[in-house]
Subunit: 329 residues, 2 copies
């Protein structure tokens, strides 16, 4: 079969892509078992892409948003960005002899994670500023690129980029093949994700939304640079997620995927408007193949989401039952 | 001629698009006269899209940024958003009897623009807050949509959307046909532009960067809304433009188009990196067909840009000599 080019550019491209996607996706989402979750997702994609459907959505408005930590890759025993912060502290330590006796740095250097995190979010934020600022945007990008391609997870010994979920990679792929534009909307640092999301998820930097520190344009040695400042700019979590979505995208998504109560408002915002909407919560209930945690977890706490998913018609994905495989290797 | 679908999706699409674009653009940029400016633009596009060229840039990195006021549409006798603010004040006046005696509102209501703007940027910013906040993001979108489809320019009597530059529309079209992703990077309000940029320029809301006020997620009558607050979030002008570009795009553009010193740092940032780069300044020097202003203008002041364009290898477009037509009608 051939696809004929016609004079209207967009139409030609669509005809070709549909033909090819039908070939590639003989069986969509192969790592998902054929349960209610997979059917709900496939049914949603079908009704918004079928031009004969009353729920049809034009391509430009097929926006899907994904949380990152715990939704696209793992987040235990600690957010991977916290582990990056600890690695940075160890690397920067020679230039900071005062850290030997100064908390929380001293605990990090001794490898005592519990003591290092005793100061809670405030301590972690301070360490993030120390380790993420005072370099240019492009220097920071290089630092992250080197870390992501060499650092290993403390429990699995894998590269962090190998701890992404295979069923979610298939879902990203299938959504893209159906004309969706995919954004990451994460509480994690926007500049911590951008250097690797294109390679790992196929999501380009301009489709990554996250928390940020301020940057300042200046001329250094005759060249313009963007200096990263130790000053908070935006927290992309909870009520911040719909705000971040509006800032970056300027229209409401039609599908949202999360795993914790930090994603609640993003799902609420996405699914409140008229027309077909999809809200999905990934439930970590597989202690054998990954981790099992929800209502009482300090990381990725999921409580309200579990309580209200049914009445809000959100799909709760059981990692144990709905996924045939977990990691992408 | 047919384009054959192959198994690798991206390749097929590219083959078809190239074939079709060759047909559509028998003569690229017809409203541009065949001078140095047009040649510089076409030459740049050629060397970054030709796979045999040492300056070839892969499609994902072909990012072009455009200022809006004075670059894509006119900006005289006042920024169009200032005229929108005045129209909003007149509309809101019945609910604000105090404005009859309160400056700058009282001058706006009397139609005395000069007196209304006597307070400079501070007064304009205050009026922007008053007229842009205390509604939801979606309500504001509707207000702008109605205004842009009905309000008329005070001097030409045209719709504002008819005061976009035909040569620039052709350039946007030609860049897109060559695989570029186009962003607006404007000092104007991001939510003032998004409701109409897709229809007028073919630029979707997620590719619009601008100044903004803060928004807050809240539940109103059981439904989630984003309330617009009378509080400044970000000024996307001068040194702010590279910062806004980095926030939204996360990579450096390879082409930048502006018309005033407010765009200087955007062009500087874009053209400072290695590889082929294009910096273009639109020079308003056509008093007959549009307006003539530069070094001494209060709006769209262009001084440093004119001084340094040659040494920085930026192209200065003469609206008088390089453009066969000005407006899109």
């Amino acid at each position: 079969m051939l696809c004929t080019p016609v004079y209207f550019m967009r139409k030609t491209a669509v005809l070709c892509l549909l033909f090819i996607s039908a070939n590639i996706f003989a069986e969509p989402l192969p790592s998902w078992s054929n349960g209610k979750s997979k059917q709900a997702i496939l049914q949603f994609i079908k009704i918004v892409t079928d031009t004969e459907s009353p729920e049809f959505v034009r391509k430009a408005e097929r926006i899907a948003v994904f949380d990152n930590d715990g939704t696209l890759w793992a987040e235990q025993p600690l957010y991977f960005q916290a582990l990056f912060i600890f690695d940075r502290i160890k690397e920067l330590a020679p230039a900071h002899p005062e850290w030997k006796t100064q908390e929380p740095y001293s605990s990090v250097l001794k490898g005592n994670v519990k003591a290092a995190l005793a100061g809670g979010e405030k301590a972690l934020l301070e360490m993030a500023m120390t380790t993420h600022a005072d370099v240019t945007a492009e220097e920071f990008q290089q630092i992250v690129k080197e870390w992501i391609s060499t650092a290993k997870h403390p429990e699995t010994g894998k590269l962090y980029s190998e701890m992404v979920y295979q069923p979610m990679l298939e879902l990203l792929h299938y959504l893209r093949a159906n004309g969706f534009k995919i954004y990451i909307v994460s509480g994690g640092g926007i500049e911590f994700m951008r250097p690797w999301t294109e390679q790992v998820y196929g999501i380009p930097p301009e489709q990554v939304i996250g928390s940020s520190i301020k940057t300042k344009f200046k001329i250094r040695n005759g060249k313009p640079v963007l200096m990263r400042l130790p000053e908070l700019n935006f927290i992309d979590d909870k009520e911040g997620k719909p705000v971040g979505i509006n800032q970056h995208i300027g229209r409401r998504p039609i599908a949202a995927f999360g795993n914790s109560d930090g994603d609640f408002q993003m799902l609420e915002w996405t699914t409140a408007d008229k027309g077909a909407r999809l809200g999905v919560i990934i439930h970590h209930n597989d202690s054998k193949r990954e981790y099992a945690y929800d209502r009482d977890s300090h990381i990725g706490r999921l409580d309200r989401g579990l309580n209200e998913a049914a009445e809000r018609d959100w799909t709760v994905v059981s990692m144990k039952d709905d996924w045939n495989s977990i990691f992408s290797d």
